[in-house]
């Protein structure tokens, strides 16, 4: 029998049961929809994690100072006003010397200060660092320049502001050349640096900080000359002093394959210098590996859920086709008497199944594309529609339908023609 006539016939036959065909299609539509939606959400989450990690730099090792609680038994220091902890200049020096394949070491002091321009005042993170911070972080300059070597050498009172801070604080003015007061000290703005989305290491204890750049960058040298390493912090119990030499240290390694070895050296040095774990080591490369592993698990879980929904759709198809076959027993008998081979009968019912599943699949893909968009619009969760997601959803649904359609079709074909003819 000719395929195009087969299709016409199948459409005509399905037309007899419009409601039933529609309901069957719903099963497939939901199945495909959920597969596409789940794959899109999964892919979105995956991309987001990858981006965040990539932003931290796969060749970087991030060291952070961590405040550890004072030990209870330690009477002398339990109510101590001065908390000393974290990474030290000695650490930085030894790491520079002992970590193999190191190309850059970027020290940072990160402090929360009031900054003020004219009457506008707000609190933000001030990052005291070195000129190569910009390169290590893949920052983009928006205006002016970043901190320069000369600024370090002379301890110049200059600063670079994040683009968001520039917008808020200098609204209506060109920030370049203006004087910014940082906790009472005057700094001249020399540049505006781009959003965090373009590459910014987190400045809080979280792994990363989303959003626009609201930081102020000043030369480390300048800060040390003005303030030193002591920092007063006001908390509930009154004011305490903290002495932290370096809040963060980013070590940049020449190649990714040398990172693991470098991390070992870093740990060795820090273990030797620190009695307590008052630091943390974050290796973006390891995070990438972990993310890949997480993603694999994620995919397996989502895949299973999607597979179940498709199988449910497939069972729906089988159910409907079995009902259709038994209702049309007599038709099958007639067709057999008129010369239909078993193969023709199998093909007839399989074609009907295929048309149901393909049209259900297409509709499912359309809705499946809309759902991730709706999710993104309503919740802000990132979703990514990829061609493989569409292809997988579609092919799997059609395959499932055919697999589940074969049994009813074969059952129809194997009927005894005479019995079928007698069927009322």
């Amino acid at each position: 029998m000719r395929p195009e006539r087969m299709v016409k016939l199948a459409v005509k036959n399905l037309g007899q049961y419009k409601l039933r065909a529609g309901l069957t299609m719903l099963g497939i539509i939901f199945g495909v929809c959920s597969v596409v939606a789940m794959l899109s959400v999964g892919e979105g989450a995956n991309r987001e994690i990858q981006e965040k990690i990539q932003r931290l730099g796969s060749k970087n090792i991030l060291l952070k100072s961590v405040k550890v609680p004072q030990e209870e038994g330690d009477n002398a220091s339990s109510r101590r006003m001065l908390a000393r902890y974290g990474l030290t200049y000695v650490d930085a020096e030894e790491l520079s010397r002992d970590v193999p394949n190191l190309v850059a070491s970027t020290p940072m002091k990160i402090l929360r200060f009031d900054v003020q321009y004219k009457a506008r005042r707000l609190q933000t993170d001030v990052v005291a660092t070195t000129p190569w911070y910009l390169r290590v972080q893949n920052h983009r300059m928006v205006r002016g320049r970043f901190l320069a070597g000369a600024d370090m050498e002379f301890g110049s009172p200059v600063c670079v502001v994040g683009s968001r801070l520039a917008r808020i604080l200098f609204a209506g003015y060109d920030p370049i050349g203006q004087t910014l007061s940082i906790d009472g000290d005057a700094y001249t703005v020399v540049g505006v640096v781009g959003d965090i989305a373009q590459g910014e290491v987190a400045t809080s204890n979280e792994l990363w900080l989303e959003g626009e750049n609201q930081n102020v960058y000043i030369p480390l040298r300048t800060y040390l000359q003005k303030r030193g390493d002591l920092f007063a912090q006001w908390s509930q119990g009154g004011s305490t002093f903290e002495q932290v030499e370096l809040h963060e240290l980013i070590l940049t390694i020449d190649h990714q394959e040398n990172v693991v070895r470098a991390v070992d050296a870093v740990r060795r040095v820090l273990k030797k210098n620190h009695a307590k774990e008052d630091f943390s080591v974050v290796v973006p490369l390891e995070l990438i590996r972990q993310a890949r592993e997480t993603r694999r698990l994620f995919n397996i879980v989502l895949g299973s859920i999607a597979a179940i929904s498709l199988i449910v759709g497939g069972i729906g198809i089988m159910n409907i086709m079995l009902a259709t076959v038994s209702e049309r027993t007599r038709e099958i008998g007639i067709r057999r008497a008129l010369g239909a081979r078993r193969r023709d009968i199998v093909l007839q019912f399989l074609t009907e199944t295929l048309i149901l599943s393909i049209s259900g699949g297409v509709v499912g893909l359309l809705f499946g594309a809309l759902i991730p968009m709706a999710i993104t619009a309503l919740t802000g969760v990132k979703t990514v529609l990829t061609f493989p997601a569409f292809a997988i959803a579609f092919l799997v649904s059609v395959t499932v339908s055919v697999v589940f359609g074969i049994y009813p079709a074969r059952r129809a074909a194997l009927m005894d023609p005479i019995e079928a003819l007698r069927h009322e």
Binding site: G15, L338, A340, R343
Partner: protein
Amino acid sequence: MSEPIVELRRAVKEYVLGALRVTALRGIDLRIGAGEYAVVMGASGSGKSTLLNLLGCLDHLSSGDYLLGGQSVANLSDAELSEIRSRRIGFIFQSYNLIPQLNVLENIEVPLFYQGVHEAEARDRAQALAARMGLSDRLRHKPMELSGGQQQRVAIARSLVCDPILMLADEPTGNLDSKTGHEILELIDELHAEGKTIVMVTHDDDIAHRAQRVVRFLDGQIVSNERNGAARP
């Protein structure tokens, strides 16, 4: 008698229902020549339909042999039997057996469908036959919208569309009033006059005289097989 189209030799058909065996045909010998018009008569349950199903290659003999057009069909596969039904046999049923969702033309085309005949050609042939059966103004009607007589005409057109060598009719007038039945019988006479070989099952003795041969069945056996002298030449 001319070259036989149908030849049964010691044909036995047994139905097995669990432990029960029903012998529907008990060793029948029958020859029907090309162009012959034979009527099969007998009480209900005597094996007439069983015979027709076998002649139509819808069923296998339990033993014995069946030659259709000189060729034995005993060892043919299901696909080969389907092929024979498609090209050489025309069935007409008591209850018409049209496909409800198809219109008149589409119903007539069904056998061509399975021979892979082109759509346009199939349409032409179906249209010509529908016209001959007086159905030209009913081509797009569904079977439900036709009278019994019209439905049987569609069925006859369908049985003719492949130009079969053997036409089998199982009580074709059984569901029709006598006037309409008469019209159908006239049509069958016409086909016979054109040279078709016809085997028809009927209860009605009045019909029997139209045929050239009357075969009488009783309990799965042929009790008489006579050429009908009174039949037309």
